[in-house]
């Protein structure tokens, strides 16, 4: 692309034309801005340029830019959303074959009275608190451990190994762990027999199932919290840390007064993201236990899926989906609130 001369003339042009300081670019910037701008001779070209101008000056130009996204959004979100909302007021089962019957808030009342829904909500709660709590603690510890790892030989490879679990699909990691937890030839059982002399059916035993599932989630997502901790620690200015070291502050105080004030927003964002994601958990548990044994590991996502695609009670599932949707939107608003707080702080 012939940049040189055009850029220079563009720069000169700009220099003479510019009125406010806002318009003045340094040569490097002008070169980028003017790259490829060529004089456009010929009638056809001029017509094209005219059309371009018309597009540029049209007040619909911004709308044209977001139109594709809006179309996608309409077809794949608005329509299904209203479909779902509508369906949640109907008694609609794919099994009976009878046409949907309007029952008003019947599904919601049924949900409210249903023990299994409350049970799976409480399991989701236990899962979220357990997973996010342990992941955060372990992640922060590991983050601090890896803080000084910049000189680690083969650091990139080590971090790749460490971050691999979170980048793999739960459908696959669930598969790995079904092999590992396998009651007869699984390696986990080999270890427990060697250490404690006991065989445990990790995924089939009611006492162990939830814990085993939780352990897989912790394995997958602790590296994420570690990544977040590293980012949070990286946002602490070096000068303040050095000042604290010179002042001889004990490490507890260093963390409390120097590290935390800078790191806390990123940490909070990380914890919230994890909360939202573990609330969503479905494919991991479905792949590991299908919600069983009994319904010991049936969190809300699994209930939804089983009721819709094993029980085919579409109206009822839609009502439950509306409820989870509302919970998820509440979480998102909290996330955005914290995000805005952190941005305001950074600007201040």
């Amino acid at each position: 692309m012939p940049v040189g001369r055009d850029a220079l003339s563009a720069y000169r042009l700009n220099f003479f034309r510019s009125e406010g300081p806002a318009m003045r670019l340094n040569p490097a910037e002008a070169e980028i801005a003017a790259a490829g701008v060529k004089p456009q001779p010929g009638v056809g070209r001029r017509l094209r340029a005219l059309r371009m101008r018309w597009i540029d000056n049209s007040r619909f130009f911004p709308l044209m830019l977001i139109l594709p996204v809006l179309i996608f959004f309409f077809v794949w979100n608005i329509i299904p959303l209203f479909w779902m909302l509508g369906m949640s007021f109907y008694n609609y089962s794919l099994v009976t074959g009878s046409p949907p019957r309007f029952i008003g808030f019947g599904n919601f009342l049924d949900l409210y009275a249903s023990i299994s829904v409350w049970l799976s909500l409480s399991k989701t709660f236990v899962f979220v608190v357990g997973a996010v709590g342990i992941e955060t603690l372990l992640g922060i510890l590991l983050g601090f451990l890896f803080w000084g790892s910049t000189t680690l030989p083969g650091r990139r490879l080590a971090l790749t190994l460490l971050f691999s679990p979170m980048i793999l699909t739960p459908a696959a990691t669930g598969t790995f762990f079904r092999l590992i937890y396998e009651p007869t030839f699984g390696v986990a059982n080999d270890l427990t027999t060697r250490l404690f002399g006991a065989r445990i059916d990790f995924l089939g035993d009611k006492a162990w199932a939830l814990l085993s599932v939780l352990l897989v989630d912790i394995w997958m997502w602790t590296p994420f919290m570690m990544l977040i901790t590293l980012a949070a620690l990286g946002s602490v200015p070096k000068a303040e840390l050095e000042a604290a070291e010179v002042d001889g502050l004990p490490w507890t105080k260093r963390i409390r007064y120097v590290v935390l004030p800078h790191a806390k927003f990123i940490l909070m964002l990380g914890v919230l993201l994890r909360t939202i994601d573990s609330f969503k958990v479905m494919d991991l548990i479905y792949q590991l236990t299908r919600g069983g044994p009994g319904n010991t590991t049936e969190v809300i996502g699994v209930t939804l899926f089983r009721k819709a695609f094993e029980g085919f009670t579409m109206g009822w599932s839609a009502a439950l989906a509306v409820i989870t949707l509302l919970i998820a939107i509440a979480f998102t608003s909290i996330y955005l609130y914290i995000l805005n707080l952190s941005r305001q702080r950074r600007e201040a």
Binding site: Q40, P80, L152, T169, T175, F176, S333
Partner: protein
């Protein structure tokens, strides 16, 4: 001095050990893929065995393997490309023209991503069966494009915000059209954002299971679905098949985070947290 380097070595050893411990389950599945069926099912568990590539050779003879591999590549690549083009236009608009509903739309886009997939899958399923889009390339591909848009818009808006509007002004003053400014002036400067959005959307679509399971079918099965259906097979799981398929599946994501490690943080947090590790 000498003592210090000793401590450094121990510290490094500990770090490497932590990394390897986290990788152990993955090593285990790859090991399982290299075992013969009798080694894999042996009790007590065999830690030492003579590796064989027979399972991968078997895998190559199964026709559903190549079709799901091809589907995975085709669908994820085309969906992500569509999503990124569309998202860049929207991100530019949000960043430069700031239409009145910008904040609201960004909020909605983020919530789409935060909603449990199991909640959305019911209406999508009904819509797809009603319209006959189930198990068609376009139906699945465009769904995944939508699936990738929220993340791409978030990440790209952050990056376009980082490009000073003075570039746009200069480009316009010098006679460039809007299109020129967008694609020749702004686009090259948000390359890191484009790469991050591209790589991570590719990984997310490559990994997606639930929707492919529900709205896909024989012609659009991707690898995670073959994995799950393979491991839920009635009458005993074919573990050598599952293990070798899983080993093939995990190569692209692991390579991606080795080569694009500096985008990992941006990628895992919707571009809301910047920085490198």
């Amino acid at each position: 001095m000498r003592q210090r380097s000793w401590r450094q070595t121990i510290y490094h050893l500990i770090l490497w050990m932590v990394a390897i411990i986290f990788f152990l389950p993955i090593i285990w599945i790859v090991m399982a893929a290299l075992k013969t069926k009798s080694d894999l099912l042996a009790v007590p568990v065999k830690y030492v065995f003579s590796p064989t590539l027979a399972n991968f050779a078997d895998l190559a003879t199964r026709h559903d393997f190549f079709s799901s591999l091809r589907n995975s590549f085709l669908i994820s690549a085309s969906a992500v490309i569509v999503a990124i083009v569309v998202s860049f236009l929207a991100a530019y608009c949000f960043s430069r023209f700031k239409p009145r509903m910008t904040d609201f739309l960004m909020f909605i886009l983020l919530s789409i991503r935060m909603v449990p997939a199991a909640a959305v899958v019911v209406p999508i399923f009904l819509m797809y069966t009603a319209l006959g889009w189930k198990d068609t390339f376009w139906g699945v591909m465009l769904f995944y494009a939508m699936f990738s848009i929220p993340f791409s818009v978030w990440i790209l808006k952050g990056f376009v915000d980082g490009v000073s509007p003075r570039y746009d002004e200069t480009g316009l003053v010098n006679g460039g059209s809007r299109m020129h400014v967008m694609f020749r002036v702004v686009l090259p400067q948000v390359r890191p954002g484009l790469i991050a959005a591209f790589i991570f959307n590719l990984i997310f679509v490559w990994n997606e299971f639930l929707f492919n399971f529900i709205i896909g079918g024989k012609r659009t099965t991707m690898i995670p679905v073959s994995l799950v259906t393979g491991s839920l097979a009635q009458g005993g799981v074919d573990w050598t098949f599952v293990a070798s398929l899983a080993s093939v599946y995990l190569v692209p994501p692991v390579l991606a985070i080795y080569f694009f490690q500096k985008y990992l943080l941006v990628g895992m947090t919707f571009g809301t947290v910047r920085g490198e590790v």
